[in-house]
């Protein structure tokens, strides 16, 4: 085995040796400086307000007036009717692609998976207990949940493997491990994508230091490697039949591009011209006819393209006046709009303005909101866009029509996966 081949295996130990040294000499300086410094009071962290015992005690001590009791009973009747209605709707699976009704938002905090209600701003535990449960991925029919489960006390930074992947139903029941079958040379699980029929999951994991694809059968956890002979950085099924996969990869010279391949493997074909060495984003349209992507051209400008999957015709969408960069495309559930981020300058701190543009380039589009958010996704019904604030990871909802923004009142922990909005039958 050559040094190059040993590189990945030995990297942790070599980095330990490379960085080994005595405790830094500025330790005393830090200790003295912090000793003279006040801590930020706990009450200034909103998440630490109102311990449960305090809240409960206050509620019990206040006598309820008769009229209040009547109001509460009326509210309970209304709530029961709403819950009954939701249960009826939840009994039917959502269509895998296209618009669906908005369900709850799954996210991870404090090692639990919670469901947040975007209407009321309240949330409840879906998957709890002493285990560390993170990275919720709801199936496209809204009925199942894939998540990472690690042992109690496992720090957030601990690598997850296929043995840590678990499934549950959307009500938090029927929890079971998906697979423990590790492939030779496989280390970290990187990403998971549900297939439209919710019967299989496309898994990206590092195998011999290279990101590669496997499909996992949800019924029995069996795995099949999708051998593409090249690294796969991002992958997505092509609706509506999921018989093809679009993925981002590099050629032998390190130049990136988009490729398409049959889901049963075979020889990938290039979907785009070579797109340089910069990373880029792409999204497959909900009806499966086009792929939107953003790439940097020779002048350094980031442009949004739409390529037709059948004809291969690649069209650059016009830039808005004043915008120098336009990227990170995301299709609306009905396929009529592309959500993009626009920026004037990307050399320093970037101010991104979210905008909706027409995928055929016929309309100039309209700006929605300036934000520093890194993550955003469409509501299943297309009425709004969910964004994650960079500073505190709180969730905001921007309405697609008016562009108004409101806070949803809950926030996932950093590094525990993106929030995932449940799709329900319309």
């Amino acid at each position: 085995m050559t040094w190059e081949q040993r590189l990945e295996r030995d990297l942790p130990e070599l980095l330990e040796q490379l960085g080994m040294g005595p405790s830094p000499d500025y330790r005393d300086d830090i200790v003295h400086r912090t000793a003279a410094m006040h801590q930020r009071p706990a009450w200034t962290f909103p998440e630490r307000w109102l311990p449960m015992d305090t809240t409960a005690a206050r509620g019990a001590a206040t006598p309820l007036r008769p009229i209040l009791i009547v109001v509460l009973i009326a509210l309970a009747i209304v709530a029961a009717a709403v819950v009954a209605g939701n249960k009826f709707r939840e009994s039917r699976p959502a269509p895998p692609y296209g618009p669906a009704a908005n369900g709850q938002i799954a996210y991870s905090i404090d090692g639990d998976i919670r469901l947040g209600d975007p209407s009321s701003g309240t949330s409840r535990v879906l998957i709890g207990g002493p285990t560390m449960d993170t990275y919720p991925y709801l199936s496209l029919d809204g009925e199942s949940l894939l998540f990472v489960r690690q042992a109690e006390g496992t720090p957030i930074g601990a690598p997850a493997t296929v043995a840590d992947l678990y499934l549950a139903d959307a009500r938090g029941g029927d929890i079971r491990r998906l697979t423990g079958q590790t492939l030779a040379g496989e280390t970290t699980v990187v990403d998971a994508v549900w297939r439209g029929d919710s019967e299989a999951i496309l898994l990206t994991s590092m195998i011999d230091g290279r990101p590669e694809l496997t499909t996992v059968d949800v019924a029995d956890g069996s795995r099949r490697r999708v051998d593409l002979g090249r690294p796969v950085f991002d992958a997505s099924f092509v609706p509506p039949d999921d018989r093809r996969i679009v993925f981002r990869s590099v050629d032998a010279t390190g130049v990136q591009g988009l490729y398409v391949v049959d889901a049963d493997a075979g020889e990938p074909s290039a979907l785009t011209d070579p797109l340089g060495t910069e990373d880029f984003e792409f999204a497959v349209s909900p009806e499966g006819r086009s792929v939107a992507y953003s790439a940097t051209d020779a002048s350094g400008t980031h442009q949004t393209h739409v390529v037709d999957l059948r004809s291969g015709v690649d069209r650059i969408l016009p830039l808005a006046e004043g915008a120098l960069h336009q990227g990170l495309p995301a299709w609306s559930p009905d396929g009529r709009w592309l959500l993009v981020g626009r920026a004037r300058d990307i050399s320093g701190p970037v101010e991104v303005v979210l905008a909706l543009i027409s995928p055929d380039g016929a309309e100039p589009g309209r700006s929605l909101e300036a934000l520093d958010s890194g993550e955003r996704s469409w509501a299943p019904d297309g009425s709004g866009i969910l964004v994650v604030r960079r500073n505190d990871h709180a969730l905001d909802l921007i309405t697609a029509l008016a562009g108004t923004k409101r806070s949803l009142g809950f926030a996932p922990d950093s590094g525990t996966g993106a929030p995932d909005w449940q799709r329900l039958a319309p």
Binding site: W3, E8, L15, L18, Y26, P41, G153, F233, E281, R390
Partner: protein, 186 residues
């Protein structure tokens, strides 16, 4: 050492407990910052900023079991903030000594470390950060992506590119037997 107990005490304002937490973590944070930034003084600044912020914001940490992960994220953000500011000025990069006394050091391991040092030095900050976070601090790639505020696919491609570049650097520059720099300026 009961780290959880120390975190709970420090969170209540016990500075002696915080000092013990500093002693437990500072060497690892300093190493990670040096590996990412390749500059001893900048690393020092990053770790100081990290630990000062950790002391100030400890009352906001809800789960003491997450102290290490929280501290790593603070360190990463401090390193990247400094790296962004550093791009505006030219600096001399000091390579750390790799022939530390008192360590078992067969010639093969020494050559490996020298090769790794060279290969790491050729990466830019963004790629080096992914390597250090993933392989030194043990973060899974999705956590690396979140810490660096980049999509998971970008983290994947940066790690792949970094490993490929390091392999290429090693292949192009085979180890010189039994030699090691004493510490030098690049």
């Amino acid at each position: 050492v009961d780290q959880r107990g120390l975190v709970e005490r420090a969170r209540e304002g016990d500075h002696d407990a915080f000092t013990l937490l500093v002693d437990l973590s500072i060497a690892r944070l300093d190493t990670a910052a040096r590996l990412v930034l390749r500059d001893r003084e900048l690393a020092r600044d990053a770790v100081q900023e990290t630990l000062i912020r950790a002391w100030r914001d400890l009352p906001g940490l809800r789960d003491p079991a997450r102290f290490d992960a929280w501290l790593h994220r603070l360190t990463v953000n401090a390193c990247l903030d400094l790296a962004r500011r550093r791009r505006r000025r030219v600096i001399e990069v000091e390579l750390p000594r790799i022939d530390l006394p008192g360590l078992p050091d067969p010639s093969g391991e020494l050559a490996d470390r020298q090769l790794l040092d060279e290969a790491l030095r050729r990466l830019d900050d963004r790629h080096r950060a992914v390597v250090v976070l993933h392989y030194y601090l043990g973060m899974p790639l999705p956590e690396v992506a979140a810490a660096l505020r980049i999509p998971a696919g970008t983290a994947k491609s940066r790690l792949h590119y970094a490993l490929a570049s390091m392999r290429a650097a090693v292949a192009a520059d085979p180890p010189a037997a039994n030699t090691a720099p004493e510490g030098q300026l690049a």
